[in-house]
Symmetry: D2
Subunit: 363 residues, 4 copies
């Protein structure tokens, strides 16, 4: 018995580079269920020749694909879109040649859309990239040109992009929570982003930090003042600051929580001007009134958004100058592969929710 | 922005009775995503008048429905199918009058299909029902007439049914694991079903057994020799025994595991005739060759099937007369609402996988 | 075979009031293992007449005690110390009459030491107490007189106390992290206490927030700007501020993490004066040099301190005016019953670590 | 401030070989808290020269020891007891030379007691050892001579032993559950041991099976018919069978449960003779009447025994020939280091509970 329910429209052809990890696996899972997409290739250097389901057993019966070692630049034109889920540093090797070599595929027929899920093209400042990623950037001009893929706040640029830099998981939660404040000129004091992530954010490779016996009942902070998502958050917030405002110091503290999926962000701002709860609510409602995937709620919860592309948001104030904005996302979906598919939909001019309307699976 | 991707076919209209619990919520979630279904009503006596999303916040943006107190028998004909997710004893109050009163709706236009997710119509023997459920059955003839909704093994009867008794979560895992052995005459010794369930099987109401501080790191057995799923397993296995074989004693031991979703079943059989691993494999491959939702694998895992309608199965033997069949399902999907939707598809003659092809979400 | 290892010294006699909850149970567990203590009575209105082990099965073989309904004021003198683990509002009913009625017991023979584990005597300002606890205080003068039981910072007052108000779990973690900064005059900007707690902090009664199916994979904030531990933290920090400094605004945000034991606190300070990492380290090393239960470490982890009376602490700065102090404790031990026993040791002049030197149980 | 509460008796000196793993760490933790023991050396080839607390941070403040590379055979006599927590195959290299070389230390002054926590000396049949462990045994005569360290059932032999082979974690739970049935002649049908373990049983090295993202919500079986604890269980049960009874086939199925600590065992027996629940209870009460660490309870739970040396046990029957015995232990304590310390107490003639009377830490 075959799976049913796919649309009859001729699908676009998509490749996933680096398909054996968690983000690549999620991209694959979502693309397999997307009504307008056919997955043409999934790469894995380590697992070339093996069935995709040997690494992603949950996809058994849903795909017969076998990992291939790589998609060569000259083959790139066979695809309309290419998702890159390679380790940091991998995308910057592939992207320039693919952009040059491919003359077919894609929405305009002049080459595939590249959607990069790594950190390679997120940071516009090459020196900052090198400092935080420990790598010299080999294509800094492409980093500058790439559209930052936070769909809700960069939709127009994404529509026109050949290269989309999908945001990091922490920045997605932080920026959806804080951008309305930045636009409203309310980030003129210290800004704190205190985030808590599930273990899937550490990826597929077992390590000390994700060893079940010590992770399961643990909680800890890490990367104080040094995490590479800090400059990404600061860069994107700065875009929205009123002209006269200096960029705030953004302190970002990630924590390891003993769950698998999800990021919860508690963001604090101390604007010079006191705002009321009512004004804050108006700011957020105006910001997200037409957004399907952002839901303003009383109290965001990771369990409510897990496995979905939704971001639940809340904002509160004591009325004395302290604002707390909280958000919950699934780190691999809205904070990863789901948002990448959302961007695919934007680039191809499809309804933005296509293939992404599944809710979380609470409990 | 509205959700996209629904088919343009005129949908059938479905009601969910008892929609505030976990099984009702899962039915609602799956039906909202089903391309041929429109959910017309969701009932909850306790929450009538409240938005469905006040209880199921993960469905926020996906439904505007409000709970209604009940669907009256005379209204039943407005629906093509009614899912009953009421507490045990509730369905037997609703079903007889609905079947009598409704003259419209349903695939033949003579009344809706009733798909009951409770235990009310699973046990054919009224005395046995009373012993295990502590209730006198008010419609024993309907229990006899209801089609037992284990789709893979009762598809023909389900096709013709007005009333489908969806299986219990434990029996689904146990019967998919053991029915091939029953048919092959290999259940002529003691049969043990040792099952391990996640906490969502206990439902939405907080209680001692699902209190996080003591459940999270706990493991325990319960209901030894007395669980109500034992007679259900025994009844359904007995259907398949070769004529000359006596019904085996089935010992069923459920356990509480510290996970949320899933049931893992380890079933042991000691047939008089020794069978080889190869013969066993052939028996299972023949049994499930054309089944989409049953996957024969090396080692079933709950994490692989969680949130999906798949059942992963394995069988092994020491060659000395001991057979171990193991299975993994999601208790709320294949062991609950997913299988109910699968039956809906069967009754309406649609592809059986419609609305159910989503994989698990590993990790 | 009997348990071995108790000292031969004549023990003091202790009663535990409210011994059926988690904090009472932990107090009982620790007192049963204390070499100089004999537990004379454990009360529970709901479980009077039942063996203590019917509620605390882990204590089976370690005590033969049966719950009694109450210890009457006139009986208080039979005990040298009384631990009160009653719901908020309960201690203030018992304490005044016990202090008046009891003329014997205790280290001076003039009445037992009362160690209260509730919030009744922590807040010195009766109006503030009423605002946060929703109760009028019936013995405000005793709240003023009670020694606040944060042992490391109030040891001298505890030594002389008849009534010790054991700190709340969140304040313990927050105050151990922040008091050195307060003393150093570094809390003159906004202060944020972002805390993450395990589910055992919610107590023994099952409820929505501790229902395993939704707690196990969840993360959420609660009580923004309104939690009753906020005034407790602010009150105790204010004691240490240099004379000329105004009390800072302390923002306290508790979160529910999907673990059972432990509190992780991330505290942020923005002093006017920039301090170096080296100066900060000196401040903390000086503060805790002689403290057994406070360990300065690189990165505190809940798993390392769980089930122990230790508090692991760390402090960091970006050198640009932001300080982050993090701490990890077990909420029921250092944040509850363990610290209460530590105070018992102080009051009786015993080595402070007596009965408390067990480490955590990692993994 | 120093830790208090140690006895004033001159302690024996103990070394722990292989002290960086979980079992070695637990042995160290328990020995540090033992009133008659001084830990003299802890070895780790990989971590020689590092403080023990760099690997076991929970022991910070409780020991100043530094790992040494090894204890040479000629140094063995400096210790009264040596715990070997080496990988399988390691103990058999050390033990023979240590037994020969050491002429001092130990209870009789003729060499230290060796307590081996690996599988090296558990299996008496060298061929069976080789088959299950994949190693040729280099000291099979010592395996024959070693006392099997299941204290409750082998106390007399342990008292006289120079070498104690501490049982495996699964066998401890299985044998405490089944030995009373073996002695009563009730294991003359198939015997099934269905066990569920926490992740700490897999040890300290991260791997696929203990990777938090997939372990946390998973459940699976492994090692069907091939696990090395099967022959250990069968060997020890066979000791107790009535003379005329043939050894039963013992089927052992381990499962990975998503918890950290603990093993729950569900054991099934089908004796030829039907026994009543009352007779069964008598059999177990007689077996364990004087045992401190074995508690007969209604329903064993892992959470109740976790972090303790207790084994909670229950037995039930349908009265029709099926018996279910269930047990719960902590795999690292009663199933590992705790039982090893219990054996130390036996060998040295101390109260058997010394240093082991701490209860579990529920919640």
């Amino acid at each position: 018995m075959a799976a049913a329910g796919k649309a009859t429209r001729p699908p676009i052809k998509v490749a996933v580079l680096g398909g054996s990890g968690y983000i690549g696996g999620e991209a694959l899972r979502l693309l397999l269920g997307h009504p307008y997409v056919q997955v043409g290739a999934v790469t894995s250097a380590a697992h070339a020749g093996q069935p995709v389901t040997s690494i992603h057993p949950h996809l058994n019966k849903l795909t017969e694909l076998t990992f291939v070692a790589d998609v060569e630049p000259e083959e790139a034109g066979e695809y309309d879109a290419i998702f890159l889920a390679l380790p940091h540093g991998g995308a910057m090797q592939h992207v320039p040649t693919m952009l040059t070599a491919a003359q077919s595929g894609g929405p305009q027929g002049n080459g595939p859309i590249l959607i990069d899920l790594s950190g390679d093209f997120r940071i516009k400042d090459a020196a900052l990239f090198q400092r935080y990623y420990g790598l010299e950037h080999s294509a800094p001009q492409l980093a500058s040109a790439a559209a930052y893929g936070l769909t809700e706040w960069n939709r127009e640029a994404i529509k026109e992009a050949r290269l989309v830099a999908s945001p990091g998981c922490f920045p997605t939660g932080a920026l959806l929570a804080l951008t309305p404040l930045a636009r409203a000129g309310l980030l003129d004091g210290p800004v704190i982003v205190d985030s808590k992530t599930g273990s899937s954010g550490s990826g597929k490779e077992p390590g000390e930090g994700t060893h079940h016996p010590t992770r399961a009942n643990d909680f800890r902070a890490y990367g104080l003042f040094t995490h590479r998502h800090q400059p990404e958050i600061a860069q994107e917030l700065a875009k929205w600051l009123p002209a006269q405002k200096a960029a705030p110091t953004v302190t970002f503290t990630p924590h390891s929580a003993p769950m698998v999926r999800g990021i919860f962000t508690t963001a604090y701002a101390f604007p010079e001007r006191k705002v009321s709860a009512g004004e804050l609510r108006d700011i957020y409602e105006e910001a997200y009134a037409t957004e399907f995937f952002v839901r303003l709620v009383d109290a965001p919860r990771v369990a409510v958004v897990a496995h979905s592309n939704f971001c639940d948001l809340s904002v509160a104030t004591d009325g004395e100058g302290t604002i707390i904005a909280t958000s919950a996302i699934d780190n691999l979906v809205k904070g990863g592969a789901g948002q990448a598919v959302q961007n695919l939909n934007v680039v191809f001019g499809w309804p933005e929710t296509l293939g992404l309307t599944f809710p979380g699976t609470m409990p």
